[in-house]
């Protein structure tokens, strides 16, 4: 592919912008490795006598591995459950203008409007009755309910952009509705699918409210609850907390880079030709 002139200049600008926006992340990292007291009036920008002690400590003292596995199950589960549901609903909203759909479309947004503190007790009661309380599966269901509206509406935007003639042609060719969505339309909305699956993944990865109210057993802790445990009744383990936060930031970012590289570029190329 021909690179436009000035791509290096763009790179420089992009690097500056991205790094400036990430200063707090950098600072968090510094706090996890520096030996300098946090009570320094003019803290130095570079870490002093950096060491990985905090990382070692948390790996020994806290069940980081278990938090990681639990969080991964919840995040992957949320993506896996919400993507098919969102794609189906979005397609329906985009293509079929029935009364049911226009009502449902707005009602979906309505589910996002109640303060979390009021949801807590009813959802807790609901989950106890259905056996979802204190289960990772329960967190998957709860997170899915809260990622769906965004996912559905964003995907609907992508479906809207695809000419209807395409599905009609597919149907005339003898595809079923399922085949038509899966084989013809899906590849075209892949950028959208990637965007909303990242959205769902990150939301579930970092979710704190359900995680702390709907789970009791320590064996079911996810990272957000684990992180909050670094603040004890009278003390706080500052550098340990920062170290844990740094560790738990890596997976979603790696995942996104991977998807970017292997999926989007290849498939949008296809979409253009389609």
């Amino acid at each position: 592919m021909r690179r436009p002139k000035g791509s290096i200049a763009v790179l420089v600008v992009a690097v500056i912008v991205v790094f400036a926006l990430n200063f707090p992340v950098y600072w968090m990292f510094v706090q996890s490795i520096t030996a300098e007291s946090m009570f320094t009036e003019r803290p130095s920008l570079l870490p002093k006598d950096p060491s990985l002690n905090a990382f070692k400590r948390i790996c020994e003292a806290k069940p980081i591995g278990q938090w990681f596995v639990n969080t991964l199950i919840v995040a992957v589960g949320t993506v896996a459950l919400s993507m098919p549901l969102a794609a189906g609903a979005a397609f329906s909203l985009s293509r079929y203008k029935t009364t049911l759909n226009s009502v449902t479309g707005l009602a979906i947004l309505g589910t996002q409007m109640l303060s979390a503190s009021l949801l807590a007790i009813p959802i807790y009661v609901l989950f106890r009755r259905t056996g979802l309380h204190d289960k990772l599966g329960g967190l998957i269901v709860a997170n899915t309910a809260f990622t769906l509206p965004m996912s559905i509406w964003v995907l609907k935007g992508f479906f809207d952009a695809i000419p209807k003639e395409l599905d009609e042609a597919a149907m005339i060719d003898g595809c079923t509705v399922g085949q038509m969505i899966w084989q013809v339309i899906m590849p075209l909305v892949l950028p959208g699918m990637v965007a909303v699956s990242i959205f769902a993944f990150i939301l579930a990865w970092d979710e704190f409210f359900f995680a702390r109210t709907l789970v009791s057993s320590q064996g079911n802790w996810v990272l957000s609850v684990g992180l909050s445990s670094f603040r004890e009744e009278f003390t706080i383990n500052w550098s340990d907390m920062m170290a844990a936060a740094v560790l738990f930031t890596i997976p979603p970012i790696v995942l996104f880079m991977f998807i970017q590289k292997h999926l989007v570029s290849g498939l949008t190329g296809g979409a253009v030709k389609g």
Binding site: G137, I140, T213, V225, E232, F234, W238
Partner: protein, 417 residues
């Protein structure tokens, strides 16, 4: 094919009963913020082991809840039909929980307990309408905690009056660069920010209410807060910090004095063992020496399933040997008057001072304004909202407290009492 696999995986995930399963007949649900703490956690776990060995067929299920979420989690558990069997609660939660009828009266159980008469005076916080709803677990006074090394460097003695304390703080700053006195001025955590205000208001003979009548602009209350503000104005306290950060600074020897509970000393012992021998505990150097007392209570929710067993478990912890172990291991005051052994007094000389302060100057139970026990949270917030404008440099103590008084009076009139 892929979709089938995906769906199977999903169903497996959602349905997988990942949780604690046990074959024991009876499970005592016992959540606490202390299970994960060094010292306290072991003390509780060892008690559970003893209890389980004495009561085969009964299993205690400990659930660690991070301290910051404990109150919210317990309330949701109770509201949603998942009340635990034995629940420790922070002192400030007691008045509300009792009045709402959420706790089991323990008088019948206590009648048979020989240790009942030995409980600390703060036990009265657990009494309402002639009934007892909790058993004090620990209660320690907030006193002057000082770094002897820094005070010596500044050439000052341990202060016993507000003026002496101010002078000491100034000299520490001059001689060492450390802050003289650290107190919480970060108002995001209302209770943290309220405790020093209470300390100085009561310390000067005032308070934010008396018998259910607001007294936020009482001259003594204002005098106390104005004195506190002098440390703030002269840069003798770090601005905008909360308790955990102040304790961290104290451990790093960047603050010479705190008014805090013995847990701060326990923390020094753990985090900076070399500093430990230089740390002392004295009565707060305010005119009344009032020592705000904080702690926790054991309670049994009214909807608990295994009340007998829960009480039997808390009785284990109330046996004399467990009470002394709390004092000796944690260097904090347990729920009962415990004897200080000569050995303990020799190894940890400050403890006698603390026990003395606890006996002489206990005050501010439940962090509530007198007469507003049930509404402690609201009073705390009104007062802290007022002081936030002072710490933000927007108003004076007097103007802020006049404003708070006005709001409190208006608010108190709306209460259905």
């Amino acid at each position: 094919m892929k979709r089938m696999m995906m769906a199977t995986l999903l169903i497996a995930l959602v349905m997988a009963p990942i949780g604690v399963a046990s074959g024991a007949n009876k499970q005592i649900q016992f959540p606490s913020w202390m299970w994960g703490e060094a010292g306290t956690g072991d003390w509780f776990k060892d008690g559970v082991a003893l209890y389980e060995s004495q009561n085969p067929g009964v299993k205690v299920v400990p659930a660690l809840v991070p301290a910051g979420q404990y109150e919210e989690k317990l309330l949701i558990d109770m509201a949603g039909g998942g009340a635990p069997d034995l629940a420790p609660v922070f002192t400030n939660m007691m008045p509300k929980l009792m009045r709402m009828g959420l706790l089991e009266p323990l008088d019948d159980y206590l009648a048979k307990a020989d240790w009942k008469s030995n409980l600390l005076p703060v036990q009265k916080v657990a009494q309402y309408n002639g009934k007892t709803y909790g058993v004090v677990l620990t209660a320690s006074p907030n006193g002057l905690i000082y770094n002897k090394k820094l005070l010596d460097k500044a050439g000052v003695a341990v202060p016993t009056t507000p003026e002496e304390m101010l002078v000491a703080a100034r000299k520490v700053k001059q001689a060492t660069g450390a802050f003289g006195y650290g107190f919480a001025t970060r108002t995001a955590d209302v209770l943290e920010a309220y405790i020093p205000l209470m300390q100085w208001a009561i310390g000067f003979g005032g308070d934010f209410s008396k018998d259910g009548v607001p007294t936020a602009n009482n001259p003594k209350t204002i005098e106390g807060l104005e004195f506190l503000k002098r440390f703030f104005d002269e840069g003798l306290t770090p601005k905008g910090l909360d308790g955990p950060m102040l304790r961290k600074m104290f451990v790093e020897e960047k603050i010479a004095m705190l008014i805090d509970g013995p847990w701060a000393i326990t923390y020094v012992k753990e985090a900076a063992p070399d500093l430990y021998e230089y740390v002392g505990f004295a009565a707060p150097p305010t005119p009344t020496h009032a020592a705000i007392t904080g702690g926790a209570f054991y309670t049994i929710p009214v909807r608990a399933k295994h009340k007998q067993e829960a009480f039997a478990l808390l009785s284990v912890y109330n046996q004399p040997e467990w009470q002394s172990r709390w004092l000796e291991d944690l260097l904090q005051i347990p729920g009962q008057n415990a004897e200080i052994s000569p050995k303990l007094a020799k190894e940890h000389p400050w403890i006698e001072g603390m026990v003395d302060v606890a006996a002489k100057y206990p005050a501010g139970f439940g962090y509530s304004a007198p007469g507003f026990e049930e509404y402690a949270g609201e009073v705390q917030r009104m007062v802290v909202d007022g002081i936030a404008s002072v710490w933000g440099g927007r108003t004076t103590v007097e103007a802020a407290m006049n404003d708070v008084q006005q709001k409190m009076v208006k608010w108190a009139a709306t209460l259905k009492r």
